[in-house]
Symmetry: C2
Subunit: 356 residues, 2 copies
């Protein structure tokens, strides 16, 4: 499969580019997309770059009924000297394959997938925004396409990559968010699909977000599905706490997504010689640390926002204010370090950047 | 919305009908489909019957990424005197609305939806197979269609109904299946989406089915996600046990689907004056009853198979044979009663049948 030639069919007309100063997240897409088909027995075939276009599927395609789909999210950055950087893209394609395995979907050749992505970015290179904080958001995804209402793994799939120029996540710089601790709804449980990047996890999470946003909380903190005691994720991000000088993040347990940003932060902290621990941490412990004045910082981490500081937790009808509701020095330092490596203004001392 | 006129655009050419003696489940679809659009602020609009045709969606439509989708399954039956019967269809549209509420999707006018279904069945009436055990399987479903990669409830949806002639679920009559008790994977947990009929539940369940089928077990028995102790469902069906003369089914707890067949069986048993209890039941209790010779029968219940007797459980490396691996008298009696009411050969004493 590695040697398969990618067929390129360029668009005859190009779309008008959006104002790079006013980009919304995931609303505008580039001129082209990558597609590859899978047929049981034949494997992945016909990799191709085509003009960005609708997907046409039978209404009985299994994706609409039984939800076999996995996706990834990563970004390409244009450096000041006009290079195009990807940040640890292999990690995303490895995780895509782990997600696929959980959903009984066929795995991809990671090298082919990365080459396809690079080729697509080259074709749509002039869509990468060049302003501070902007980037080209990359969405690889696989959908099941078989026409069959029986509940079984599909025999045909499509792997697709689309690209979207996006602005800085925080228009006025990195700003703390208010988070409600979710005590009714559950995102995932061990034995389920929580560690796979698959649609059902996101659909199921919307209700909690809807309820909490009515009370003025932008996201929820998810607790474990068994005891609703241990911290798992925040919104669709991993979460870190700094308590009494030590940095703690929930350990991977099967229901937590293995974030690329999470892993990068752990490595950065270790590289800096700071104490970072992956372990179970209960909401009770976080709250008590807050009462004792030992909860110095809390923040979410993910590809879209990179670092999202948490200024307040709402739990059991009590508000817990963290670091006076302001961005803490560790969150700021991590944000600057990661975005600096990603956009090429800081040296890539950990070998994370890959040039297109 | 109730007064909206359904626009009907008939197909100019008709497909060849399949051999009604050799129908596969969910592989062949009729000449037409029903579609209705939803736009935030405008509500549901443009109800229409159109020739069966592909769905065309932007690759960034949220259904492909965040899985906002719900569905239903029911059947239409052709009676010997050429009437068309639906079985408790209102229950399905009520459940569709409950599922939609959980997934932050817009609810439908149940009366309009049922009228649309009846109109569609009238248009494709000659697709209803007339052989013993056959029926027209009905799949109403809603998908989110908004073009947006942000994780939030979509602002646009489509409600679609497609129809598929299906054969008897068991070609050689009702036959017991072998079931493995699932101890690693979890279907659902309280606070999750287990009681909603949504794609993610089915995608997540495939892996357990794949693993168990390699050991010769056709489906798995799902235990609760918290303690992996209490029985929840079997495959994609509800489950009943007859122990020492009493019939027991797991009580609805938020992670179990509220099956229409399940409800009908409970009502039938009550109507017959048989002892039926909805309560928590542990796998340990089922197993011990089996060892004590008190587990008389076990069976799954659902729209597709109606009743699926369980001949064997595999749990903790032990096999438990039920009723000598044969269909028990209660399962047979319930199957005959339900299918008799559905296809009009038995009187509809509980008022469940609705003529199209």
């Amino acid at each position: 499969m590695k040697d398969q030639q990618i067929e390129i069919n360029l668009a005859t007309t190009r779309k008008e580019k959006p104002d790079f100063n006013n980009l919304q997240f995931g609303r505008t897409f580039t001129d082209h997309m990558f597609i590859m088909d899978y047929t049981e027995g034949k494997g992945w075939h016909d990799p191709r770059i085509v003009p960005y276009q609708p997907i046409t599927l039978d209404p009985a395609a299994t994706i609409f009924h039984y939800g076999q789909t996995v996706f990834e999210g990563l970004k390409a950055y244009l450096t000041k000297d006009e290079k195009v950087f990807l940040f640890r893209p292999t990690k995303n394609f490895e995780r895509l394959n782990r997600s696929s395995a959980r959903l009984c979907m066929p795995e991809l050749d990671e090298e082919l997938a990365l080459n396809a992505l690079k080729e697509l970015i080259r074709v749509d290179r002039d869509w990468i925004p060049n302003l501070e904080g902007t980037s080209l958001y990359i969405r690889p995804f696989i959908i099941s396409t078989e026409v069959h209402l029986g509940v079984s793994a599909a025999l045909t799939y499509q792997f697709i990559i689309i690209l979207s120029p996006v602005g800085a996540y925080y228009k006025e710089g990195i700003n703390p968010v208010k988070i409600a601790v979710e005590t009714e709804f559950v995102r995932a449980v061990q034995g389920g699909t929580g560690n796979a990047k698959t649609a059902g996890n996101y659909a199921g999470a919307l209700k909690a977000q809807e309820v909490s946003s009515k009370s003025g909380y932008s996201q929820v903190l998810w607790l474990d599905g068994k005891e609703k005691k241990y911290v798992e994720e925040v919104g669709s991000m991993n979460v870190f706490f700094k308590i009494n000088g030590e940095i703690i993040t929930p350990e991977l347990n099967g229901s937590i997504l293995e974030g690329v940003t999470r892993d990068s932060i752990i490595q950065l902290l270790q590289h800096w010689g700071l104490p970072i621990v992956e372990r179970k941490i209960s909401m009770e412990e976080v709250y008590q640390a807050g009462l004792d004045g030992k909860l110095e910082e809390a923040f979410g981490t993910g590809t879209a926002a990179v670092i999202s500081p948490i200024g307040e937790f709402f739990w059991k009808n009590e508000k817990l204010i963290i670091n006076n509701g302001e961005t803490g020095p560790l969150a700021k330092k991590l944000y600057d370090a990661l975005t600096g490596i990603q956009n090429g203004t800081l040296p890539d001392s950990l070998g994370w950047v890959e040039e297109v």
